[in-house]
Amino acid sequence: MTSSSNDRERPRVALFVTCMVDTLYPEVGLAAVDLLERSGATVVFPEEQTCCGQPAFNAGYRDEARRMAQHFLDVFGPLIANHQADAIVAPSGSCVAMVKHFYEVLFTDSGQEEQRQLVHRLSAATYELTQYLVDVLGVEESAAAYDGAITYHPCCHLLRELAVDSQPRHLLSTIDGAEIVELQAEHECCGFGGLFALKNAGISTAMGQRKVECIIQSGADVVAVNDVSCMTHINGLLGKTEHQCRAVHIAELLAGSAPNSRDAR
């Protein structure tokens, strides 16, 4: 396991990068690290991490999800238990919701008391990125700048499971030069839904097309999202149109590493 600084007075964050970011959008992970470090945290990256198990859980495969959850507990549990990390932070609302709300569903048998206790501890210490930046690190404004119009799509798990909404919106509003535009029907689901996107591809696409329509109508250059799952689905549809607008992970916008970002002040 490697860390970025040995300063013990700074809060230590164990980065839970998530499998999709790790494999498909590594730059989002780097942006998250930048943000956390610049905001006063020391980031450690437990390399043995893989996947939280949400896709299997949502698809109804609890035994399989439990095995993946167990691996997560094995990787992150000791860090928290031994105070080598104060918090676990992920650039994803749905993965954090999985740990905080659904891990306890996986360990309910009488022989799983130890896991239950560990899950309870980890749940309390796990945060979504913008939630951690604002609520724990006290970040009040972004140091980034952006030339263009930004709109925001609240991802369902972030909004409804974690009740995180004002934090990302606030940070976006402080991006220098950016015009924040309204997204119609913003609270509606984009239609990704995990395996739903494949098993019910027709419905998923229909829902996504509504979202894309609203995004285009908003006139935004980018739509900020906190989950790369929503981002993949929205960009998957936008990529088949002539429009240039794209979904970008909020970490990249806030870190100033998104396309069209200007130099940070």
Partner: protein, 480 residues
Amino acid sequence: MNIDVSAPYQQRVAQALSDHNLRTALERATSRLSGKRDVSVAAIELRELRNEARAIKEHAIRHLPELLQQLENNLIANGCQVHWAQTADEANAIVADIARQRGVRRAVKSKSMTTEEIHLNHALEDAGVGIVETDLGEYIIQLADEPPSHITAPVVHKRAEDISELFQRELGMRPTNDPAEMCAAARERLRGEFLAADMGISGCNFAIAETGTICIVTNEGNGRMATSMPPVYVAVMGIEKVVPRVEDALLLWQAVTRSATGQDVTVYFSLSSGPRRPGQPDGPEEMHIVLVDNGRSRIIERGYADTLLCVRCGACLNSCPVYREIGGHSYGQTAYSGPIGAVVTPLLAADPATAKDLPFASSLCGICREVCPVKIDLPRLLLDLRSDLTRVGTPPKYERSAIRAYTHVVERPGRYRWMLRLTRWLSRLLPTSRSGDITRFPPPLSAWTQSRVFPRFPSQSFRQLWHKRQNQPQRPSDNG
């Protein structure tokens, strides 16, 4: 175009998605109803109302046997006859029997999801009783011989032109698309039915245990008509409808009306406790109540008592982005569609696997939970059902294998890194667009690329970039 409710799930959904008229109608109806609901609940202390409504229903379900007995005692004391039915067939037989004994040739019915669930109409018709739906929407679908497509707005899928055509054919109405004229035509025809009917049948929104009372909710007045004019009145009720006190029924009524249509109250709320009293000019001579189980006790045994909290407002349907796209008929031959239907339809069935697709027809966005007046955690119930169905072996084999393989890989970081290398390498074989996005996956992943592109795999994963960033020497196993 009508969706064939007996066709397989994917076929029904495909039909719905390609039906432009249906989707337009669904969008208009659901956005209007959910918009009205939002305005209506903003005018009251919603949080408190939901908590109290939930407390009342929880209490009612916890004490179901005692409350049912109290209800029965009071109904009998009021002069009613109480019947019990384990199954749909038994319930239908009871009603048919009452009809036979009273020489009933024609019955009028006020809207009831429970009677749809047990297929009462067909059973009575088989027994030689002509039965007429009187709720305007239900009357329309009866004429069209279709099942309802929404819990509270049964003809949300029909346009005015379709209804006009139907009325011209069946009622001899003159050609017009004016809703007022169409209503007047239905009113006239149904007025005659009400006055001549031998029996009136209703469902039950709430049953009050302490007074022995059956409560029904309508806006049209057909509930009062059906329960006042004919000499025999039969109420069919699911056993989960009982509540302790009059105040509880009044609170739940208001919670339902605001959630369903955004009304403070419905036009009519009729509380019937017994047949006409001596000296009263009108009212039924006899009042019967049929208490129906039809799988409700079994739902508790199956561990899903939460679903019995439902007060049948339809708010979850009106807010559901999936329901909006596919409508109620896509959920198949069932009285219950939308989010609650996706849970209740499999659970009421003898074999839940017969409705195995329904719990998966959701992106788990959670809006339904937000709008439910009794705070049912529908996403959680959907997840639990998915797990139950998967355990009994309903998913396709390749899906199971894929998930198993994925788990195997994810459990060990070494395997995970190796798998990533393999996937990245394989992905280079796939066709891409000019901008580099993957445009076609092999089946079954092709379901994605039919309508979407997918980003290509970057040459380095986050962990590799992390190492670079830290300027640390890479471990040999980190080449993935």
